[in-house]
Symmetry: C2
Subunit: 198 residues, 2 copies
Amino acid sequence: MFKSAASVERLTNRLARLPGIGRKSATRLAFHILKLSKEEAFELADAIREVKERVGFCSVCGNISENDPCYICTDPKRQRDVICVVEETVDAAAMDKVEGFNGLFHILGGRLSPLDGIGPDDLKIKELLNRITDEVSEVIIATNPNVEGEATAIYLSKLLKPLGVKVTRIARGLPVGSDLEYADAVTLTRAMEGRREF
Amino acid sequence: MFKSAASVERLTNRLARLPGIGRKSATRLAFHILKLSKEEAFELADAIREVKERVGFCSVCGNISENDPCYICTDPKRQRDVICVVEETVDAAAMDKVEGFNGLFHILGGRLSPLDGIGPDDLKIKELLNRITDEVSEVIIATNPNVEGEATAIYLSKLLKPLGVKVTRIARGLPVGSDLEYADAVTLTRAMEGRREF
């Protein structure tokens, strides 16, 4: 059997653990890194170290941030009475593109998933409830529109409603530009349920 | 616009430079690395540094190796009269799976590609010619069966033949398990040209 240098083997193993990178891609990446200049490779290594050394979570909203509280929570231009709840930071980035939304975020850090052993205590739910003061008029739940995201949304709404805050869920329906013909029945049902008068 | 922490942005940029990793995958990987334990992330960073610090090239065959000469060139069990010439180390790894082949390798470090500005001086061709002594009876050229690989093979054969060594090229033809129906005309032509008597 052809053996690679031990350190190449080690790097390949590490890379293959990353999501979406199989054994073949890991080998290709390892060889690519071998061909990089020393500076470029070290810059990549340092960027990985740095991200773990500098980045933490905002103690208010759970967003990843180098400062605490994060730049969103401290932004004076944002509406402070609306909180949009999402699963992950990437989801907050997506929701922040929504025109007309200029509120705050709360990042749960995942979704309820009993099969994976993720319960309410593993998410930043207590932190969310602590944020509900008289200042907050609406909580928009924007967890993903799949089984676990929906379950998380229902669970949260049951905790939030008794606090006297308006709780809303983003609409499920047909994506813009799609074809009715290719839409699945569940999406069509949701689209029908969510219909609005002209 | 939603801003990520600056160090996350830097890591994403570095990752997006790797081959086969676009902006989206890079973001996903960066967030995955953020979620790793500090130890795991540092191990990945160190593996990248290590590979650049430890691994060099074998001065005999051009193989990547932590030792010089590499373990293949110093293996007493290998046939020393046959040299298989390949473009890259990964190709040597592939060829080394061939049953019945137990010779040495020579890794060119690429292929002739005038459009990319890669000429004979950029490949380890001089090193190959220096290896052709009376001890060597055959050089098998196993560059890739594409335009550039073929051109490199022809170029090498012209340099090697005058040295009185047998020069062969691996066969091009239909891959085992494939369908004639879906084979391209060039492959079929090569398969026809390379036909052998039963």
